[in-house]
Subunit: 272 residues, 2 copies
C-alpha cells in the first residue's frame, strides 16, 4: 500500500502542476494530464496509454462511475496513487473536481505518421486553420467526433493539442478522433494527394451549405473565429459555402458552424 | 468634469461588484452590468436603457470601437464615469477587459407582457427547459438570434437571465432577441394558443432532423444537457427529431444541436 500524498510541496504535485500549465513541459515529458472520470475513460477506450491515476475518494461525485473506471483499468499496467484533498485540489484544474486525474502519454500528431488503410474511409475531414483557443478546439473535436468526421487536421495551430482545456472541452473525445498538425502547404498537399474536394466556409460565399451538392470525399476548411480564412485557402478551395443567418449577428460560434455543416454533409451524402 | 473613481472601496465600485455577483441585487435594483464595447453597442442598438458607462481609456484594446460607442451614446441621456485601472479591474469580470462596462436597466421577461403584432412572424421559437448554465444560455441566444429564431422561451429556468456570463456568451445579443420566462404549463399554453407545432429533440427520436417535414409555425423544445427532456414535454410534443451522430459521442453540445436544427428548419421551410 502506497502512502497518500498530502503535502502541497511534494515533487509529484509540483510536476503535475507543471504538466497542466506548461505546453513545453508536456512536450519534454511526452505526457499530459487528463482530469475527470469520463475523460480518462475515453482515453482508456481509445487505447491511449494511461500511466498513473491520482485520486481522492472523498471528492468522487459519482462513485459508480469511479468504480467502473477503476475496474476498466485493473488489468492494465498502471499505477494508482491516492492524494489528500488539498494536494488533489492543487493538481486539479476544475472548479468542482470529481477526484480523479491521470497522467497520459501523448501521441504523435505528425501528418506523415498518420496511417490510413487502403480502403479506409477518411472523409469527411475537418481542417482548422490557425486555431487559437483550446476550449474552442476541444468543443469542435467533440462535435466532429460525434458527427462522423474521420480526421481533423490542424494547419498552423496556435494552441497545444494536449492543453487541459482541449481535453475538458472535448470531454476526452480528442483521444478518439485522428488528429494531425502541420503547416498549411503540407495540409493542402496531403488533402490533394488523396483526391479530396476542398470546401471552404465563408460568410461571403454565395452558396448555402444546405443547398450545396457535397461530394462524399470532402475536406472542410474553417478559419479562426476572429479572422476567418486567409488568402492561402482562398486560392485553393474548390467550393465555398456559408450558413444562412437571417438574424443580426454577423457570425456564428465556430463549433456551431462545424456542427451545421457536418449535419448538411451527412444529409447530402447519404441515400435513404 | 467628474472626478475619476480610483478607490476600491468607493461605494459605486462596491455596488457594481454586487450587481455582477448577485442575481438578487440585480432583481432589487432592476439593473445589470454589461461589459465590453460590442456588448454595450448591442444594448444601444436594441434600444435598451443604458444608464452609466464606466470606462478606463488605458485599457481600451480597440480605441476606434470605443470611440464609435461613445459617439453612438453621445445624444442619449446617460452618464460617463472614468475609473482608475485598479477600480476598473475590480468591477470587470473579464480576464482581458477592454475598459468599458455599463449599467443597464433590465427588462421584463414576463410571458404575459410579451407584445406580438397581429401579423407578426413569431416562428421559429426555441423553448429551453430548465436551462442551468449561464454560459450555455448565452451561447444559445447568440445562435438562435443569428439563425432567425424570433422568440426564446425559458421554461422553469435555473439561471438568472441577466447573469454576466449570459451577456458575455451571447456577445450582447441577449438584448436583441425576445425572451420570456415562465413555468412549463404556461409556456405550453402560450405555444398552443398560437397554433404552433411543438417539436421535441431527443437522441431516441426515430426521425432525423434533416428529414423532418417542418411546419413553418414550429416551436422547438430542448432539455438541459445533463438530463434531456422530462416527462412533461414527452407527453406534449407533436413530433420528435434527433441529429445524426455516427461517432462514439453520446451527445452534442446543446448550442450545436440548436444550430443544426434551426439550419434544418431554414432549409425545410424556405422555397427557392
Amino acid at each position: 500500500m502506497k502512502e497518500i500524498i498530502n503535502s502541497l510541496s511534494n515533487p509529484t504535485v509540483k510536476e503535475l502542476v507543471k504538466l497542466r500549465e506548461s505546453a513545453r513541459r508536456r512536450r519534454e515529458r511526452k505526457r499530459f494530464v487528463a482530469e475527470g472520470v469520463d475523460e480518462i475513460l475515453a482515453m482508456v477506450e481509445a487505447g491511449r496509454e494511461v500511466e498513473t491515476i491520482f485520486h481522492n475518494p472523498n471528492l468522487a461525485s459519482d462513485s459508480k462511475a469511479m468504480e467502473e473506471l477503476m475496474e476498466r483499468c485493473r488489468n492494465k499496467e498502471l499505477d494508482f496513487q491516492e492524494m489528500g484533498k488539498d494536494a488533489f485540489g492543487k493538481i486539479s484544474y476544475r472548479r468542482n473536481p470529481d477526484g480523479v486525474l491521470a497522467v497520459v502519454h501523448s501521441w504523435s500528431l505528425s501528418l506523415s505518421e498518420m496511417r490510413i488503410g487502403p480502403h479506409e474511409k477518411i472523409a469527411p475531414i475537418i481542417i482548422l486553420d490557425e486555431v487559437e483557443k483550446p476550449g474552442n478546439l476541444g468543443a469542435i473535436l467533440r462535435t466532429a467526433e460525434a458527427m462522423g468526421a474521420q480526421i481533423v487536421l490542424l494547419s498552423d495551430p496556435r494552441v497545444d493539442f494536449f492543453n487541459p482545456n482541449v481535453i475538458r472541452s472535448s470531454r476526452g473525445l480528442m483521444s478518439k478522433i485522428r488528429v494531425a498538425s502541420a503547416g498549411k502547404e503540407r495540409v493542402l498537399d496531403w488533402v490533394r494527394a488523396r483526391g479530396l474536394k476542398l470546401v471552404g466556409t465563408s460568410s461571403k460565399a454565395e452558396c448555402l451549405s444546405h443547398r450545396y451538392a457535397y461530394h462524399p470525399q470532402t475536406a472542410f476548411v474553417f478559419g479562426c473565429e476572429s479572422q476567418g480564412l486567409g488568402d492561402f485557402w482562398k486560392g485553393n478551395a474548390s467550393g465555398w459555402v456559408r450558413l444562412q443567418m437571417p438574424g443580426t449577428a454577423s457570425s456564428l460560434n465556430l463549433n456551431v458552424s462545424v456542427g451545421c455543416i457536418l449535419n448538411d454533409f451527412l444529409r447530402a451524402t447519404q441515400s435513404d
